[in-house]
């Protein structure tokens, strides 16, 4: 491979990495604000409705109806789930980037991570 081609490849990889860092940063920011927003809404609703904060979580399947009924627990649960899934979303972003670059060793690493996350989801959400 000629030196010029090698340098061009290196520049391309560096640019892709910069984009990946930016995307992962945005995912974390969005996930954080989304989850904190819902947790804060749930907390404020509990204060306005003069209810103590619940000591138990609303079952996941009841979250949509709890939100429609403006129950604090629904918003709190949604905030917690969003928070716990934010790091997983960052992993999915890095896996997608590895797939695009055909970086197969890292596609394998990403898939292993997704499988472990799914295992914990199966343990956690059923």
């Amino acid at each position: 491979m000629s030196g010029r081609r090698e340098r061009a490849l290196e520049r391309l990889q560096r640019r892709r990495l910069t984009i990946l860092y930016r995307v992962v940063g945005r995912i974390l920011t969005t996930g954080l604000w989304f989850s904190i927003g819902f947790l804060a809404i749930g907390f404020l609703l509990a204060i306005l409705q003069r209810e103590p904060l619940s000591e138990e979580l609303t079952p996941l399947r009841d979250i949509p109806s709890a939100i429609v009924d403006i129950e604090p627990g629904g918003f709190i649960d949604l905030g917690l789930v969003a928070l716990l899934l934010t790091p997983a979303a960052a992993v999915v972003a890095t896996l997608t980037a590895a797939l695009r670059q055909r970086d197969w060793p890292f596609v394998g690493v990403g898939i292993m991570l997704v499988v472990i996350i799914l295992l914990s989801l199966i343990t956690g959400l059923i």
Partner: protein, 278 residues
């Protein structure tokens, strides 16, 4: 409402202290909630694990901007760390509470010793000028200090790092502390990653590690929103102050504070484990 405020204040304190020492707030939050408020240990661990996720997500954004975080290295180490966290979480929900408290007290003592060793090692492990070959492209570089010095490094002893990361994951899963207190020394001392990159990469990793174990606690019914919400907000606020304070205090003073607090908490956790406090 008074309890909510108390939890918030305690979590802020834990977040400030934990961030000042680069350990996250969980290490302090769990024993304080258990010893001072009588919160069941697993409920405290679940609250801590979720707070650690919030703290990691919040803190990692800045480190990603500065490019201190090594995303590729983080992903590789996360495979064994998250697996460890899943196993640790499953073990913790089935262990007797006394045994779990005893194990936590031991962990606090181990972390205190690691912190002293880390302090003694600062300056001893210089970054290599000629990095070794990097077949997996795990090396990183970042710009450090006001002079804009470029720091290049290539992690080595990957297998040892992976094995030890499993232990960090198990500890994180069992005790809800994130893996930071263990994974930073592993990356820095074993794999030769500069401390700044190790701390930033670990900060990113603990978010996923803690979320994996938090889901296990959630399924087992140990997540109490009345404790989790003030803990999450408290840790984030505390972390904000912790960063500022860390810049003003001398590292040696920080370590003295840390070792003193950890030793006291460790002794009280042991006493609580054997029922001497009840």
């Amino acid at each position: 409402m008074l309890e909510t405020i108390e939890y918030f204040v305690i979590a802020s304190f834990a977040g400030t202290l934990g961030t000042m020492l680069g350990l996250g707030g969980g290490v302090f939050l769990v024993p304080i909630l258990t010893l001072s408020f009588g919160v069941p240990l697993r409920v405290a661990i679940a609250a801590s694990a979720i707070s650690v996720v919030a703290n990691s997500v919040s803190g990692s954004r800045r480190y990603l901007e500065l490019r201190y975080t090594n995303l590729r290295l983080a992903q590789v180490l996360l495979v064994t760390t998250t697996l460890g966290a899943l196993i640790g979480g499953l073990v913790a929900v089935s262990l007797p509470a006394g045994v779990l408290k005893g194990a936590f007290a031991t962990l606090l003592a181990v972390i205190a010793v690691l912190m002293i060793r880390r302090q003694l090692a600062i300056g001893a492990s210089a970054v290599e000028l000629e990095p070794p070959p990097d077949p997996y492209r795990l090396g990183g570089l970042y710009i450090d200090g006001p002079a804009g010095e470029v720091v290049r490094y290539v992690p080595h002893r990957i297998r040892s790092g992976l094995s030890l990361s499993t232990l960090a994951g198990v500890a994180s899963g069992m005790f809800g502390i994130g893996g930071g207190p263990l994974s930073v020394p592993v990356m820095n001392m074993v794999m030769g990653v500069p401390l700044k990159a190790a701390a930033s990469t670990s900060a990113f990793m603990v978010g996923l590690t803690a979320s994996v174990s938090a889901l296990v606690y959630l399924s087992a019914g140990f997540v109490n929103p009345a404790i989790v919400i003030p803990a999450v907000f408290g840790i984030i606020v505390g972390a904000h102050f912790g960063v500022g304070l860390a810049l003003r205090l001398h590292p040696r003073i920080l370590v003295v504070i840390f070792v003193a607090v950890m030793s006291i908490l460790s002794v009280f956790m042991y006493l609580d484990a054997i029922g001497a406090l009840s």
